[in-house]
């Protein structure tokens, strides 16, 4: 009998197996609901209605340069702790918080002027460079980037952009839950349901089936994640609009040393999240293939995420390689704080973490997929 290449037919069947899995369906629906609630909460910050948000977004100081004049105005409207004294001046609250971010909490609001803000910002960035043990080449790189930034910054409230950044970060956790719930059974169930002996004795049951399962798992996660992100952005966009997204990233992350606006940072986060999703999927499928146990796979995927995330947070900066490697993984990197990762990756030239990460994720994915295939091919069915 002539053998046909049935990859796409197998792919459709494998996708059908995942989409008809009740655990996957329930998890997706719960995450969709959570995402919609979360979109609202992240923007309003838990305040009743949008009065507070509108006061910030429509502030009279929007688009004004943060300079001596604006700082003098702010000093007049705040007490020593930086609190706004007159409720009518609520529109200054965002700027006050931004100044506290730069100058440090507890700094007395009396004589802060424009120059002090920029000097303090530069000093903080240099301090971070020292803590991270940057080489002279890395310092030169960031100096070059810093020179491209337009200063003084034009003030814009970051309520919407901060909510979008937070929302994208939360989708990383949602991705882990979705992956653990939907993909842990892809290989494991063949063993647990005892379908393995039949499929492995067929002509397409090794190479074609393995790659069809991998492709189905990856495309299911990418499609579901895209749907979750789309609903999140739709709620934010329709309900609140994307005001302030064209402002410089420094209005949300004052120590960022790159000339990017909020949209560009959101775009970078999305690229990292989506390529990170491909890597996470490859990892989850490898675990399902190795353990052949759906519950163990689920637990291992979640444990690996938590372990690596807390590892990234707790490994001291002086262990540069380990700390940098852990911070490069999607769990830690899908955060707008990644603009504070000044350590570069030296691969021929110098690359920032967000330039290198998507490429590294794809290479790691290829390695995991290959490793999984070698194991799958060698896997033997021993038990009854």
């Amino acid at each position: 009998m002539k053998k046909e290449n049935c990859f796409w037919t197998l792919y459709k069947f494998e996708l059908r197996k995942i989409t008809r899995n009740i655990v996957a369906i329930v998890t997706f629906l719960v995450l969709l609901f959570t995402g919609l609630v979360q979109a609202n909460f992240e923007v309003t910050g838990g305040y009743e209605g949008t009065k507070h948000l509108d006061a910030n977004m429509n502030s009279v100081i929007n688009d004004r340069q943060i300079d001596d004049e604006l700082m003098a105005e702010l000093m007049d409207k705040t007490d020593e702790a930086g609190n706004i004294e007159d409720p009518e001046d609520e529109g200054y609250e965002g700027l006050s918080e931004w100044v506290q971010d730069v100058m440090g909490y507890g700094r007395v609001f009396d004589d802060i002027d424009g120059d002090m803000i920029y000097e303090e910002r530069t000093a903080s960035i240099e301090e971070a460079h020292d803590e991270m043990g940057l080489t002279q080449e890395e310092r030169d790189y960031w100096k070059e980037q810093e020179d491209k930034i337009t200063k003084p910054f034009a003030y814009r409230s970051d309520n919407i952009s901060a909510a979008i950044f937070e929302g994208i970060s939360n989708h990383m956790l949602m991705l882990i839950m979705l992956t653990a719930a939907s993909l842990s059974s892809v290989f494991a169930m063949e063993t647990q349901r005892k379908t393995d002996p039949m499929i492995r004795s067929t002509i397409n049951g090794t190479k074609e089936l393995y790659f069809a399962k991998m492709a189905a798992g990856m495309s299911y996660i990418l499609m579901s994640l895209t749907a979750l992100l789309a609903s999140f952005f739709a709620v934010v966009g329709i309900r609140f609009g994307f005001r302030g997204m064209d402002a410089a990233i420094q209005l949300s992350r004052p120590f960022a040393a790159c000339a990017l606006n909020m949209w560009q940072v959101a775009g970078i986060l999305l690229v990292i999240l989506l390529t990170g999703a491909v890597l996470t999927t490859a990892f989850a499928l490898l675990i399902s293939n190795l353990t052949r146990n759906a519950v163990a796979s689920m637990a291992l995927v979640i444990a690996a995420y938590l372990g690596l995330y807390f590892g990234a947070m707790s490994v001291p900066l002086k262990f540069r390689f380990l700390s940098q490697a852990l911070n490069l993984l999607p769990g830690a990197l899908v955060s707008s704080r990644m603009v504070y990762e000044y350590r570069l990756i030296h691969l021929g030239g110098y690359f920032t973490c967000y330039q290198a990460a998507p490429v590294i994720y794809i290479v790691l994915t290829a390695l995991l997929v290959t490793l999984g295939y070698v194991f799958y091919k060698k896997h033997e069915i021993k038990a009854n």
Binding site: L10, R20, R193, M198, I199, S201, T202, I203, N204, E380
Partner: protein
């Protein structure tokens, strides 16, 4: 058409499941008899290429059993096999048609032929989870026949079938054995005593009887009970 096992051995830790078996299978029905733990399933898994022997080898017309060419002409029904509860009977067979490399067009034709053959056409669009044990078993038999196998390995195929289905199944196997190598393991002597061209009896991983059972040998049932009690 020749399936050759040469000094085939499988050892798990300290237990030898199959011990230096050598035999040659040619077209016809070969019945494999033995009690639980005799090594039948291990032997069948090695013949299908999903389990490697510790030593020895199996070839089909000189081809390795792990080769694609061999899997292309192999049909296998494992003992106590699983299914996909979310698939209908028709989807289950279409899925296995893809696994066996049939084009979509051929798959549709073959699926409907097989559903008819195993009398499941009326419930073809029902989810497999709603099938009775006997229906699932018939579906399993159908998947083993998709690629018109030259080598058909059936591990306890009659489990779960009612007496009427057993008779129909025996006739089907007898027919298939005219052109293919059929190896059928069972506990039930009556399943094979009339259709098997040859019998292999196993105990503790070894062959204790190999040949054609004739009337001169007496009652197979009695011999079996005596040997395996």
């Amino acid at each position: 058409m020749e399936l050759v096992a040469d000094r085939l051995t499988k050892q798990y830790d300290n237990k030898i499941a199959v011990d230096r078996l050598s035999f040659t299978l040619k077209p016809g029905v070969t019945g494999l008899l033995g009690a639980n733990g005799a090594g039948k399933t291990t032997l069948m898994r090695m013949i299908t290429g999903i389990l490697s022997p510790t030593s020895g080898e199996i070839t089909y017309d000189g081809k390795e059993v792990k080769s694609e060419e061999y899997r292309n002409i192999l049909g296998f029904l494992p003992q106590d096999f699983g299914y996909y509860p979310e698939f209908t009977g028709k989807e289950f067979l279409m899925y296995f048609c893809a696994l066996k490399g049939l084009s979509k067009k051929d798959a549709k034709v073959r699926t409907s032929e097989l559903l008819k053959m195993v009398v499941l056409e009326d419930v073809a669009n029902k989810k497999v989870r709603k099938y009775s044990g006997g229906m699932k078993q018939r579906l399993g038999i159908a998947q083993a026949l998709i690629n018109r196998p030259e080598v058909l390995i059936l591990d306890e195929p009659t489990a779960g079938l009612d007496p009427k289905e057993r008779v129909r199944f025996r006739n089907l196997i007898e027919e298939l054995g005219k052109e293919s190598i059929v190896l059928l393991s069972t506990h039930i002597v009556s399943d094979i005593e009339n259709i098997a061209d040859r019998l292999i009896m196993m105990r503790s991983g070894r062959i204790i009887w190999d040949g054609k059972w004739t009337e001169e040998n007496g009652s197979l049932e009695e011999f079996y009970l005596k040997e395996f009690e």
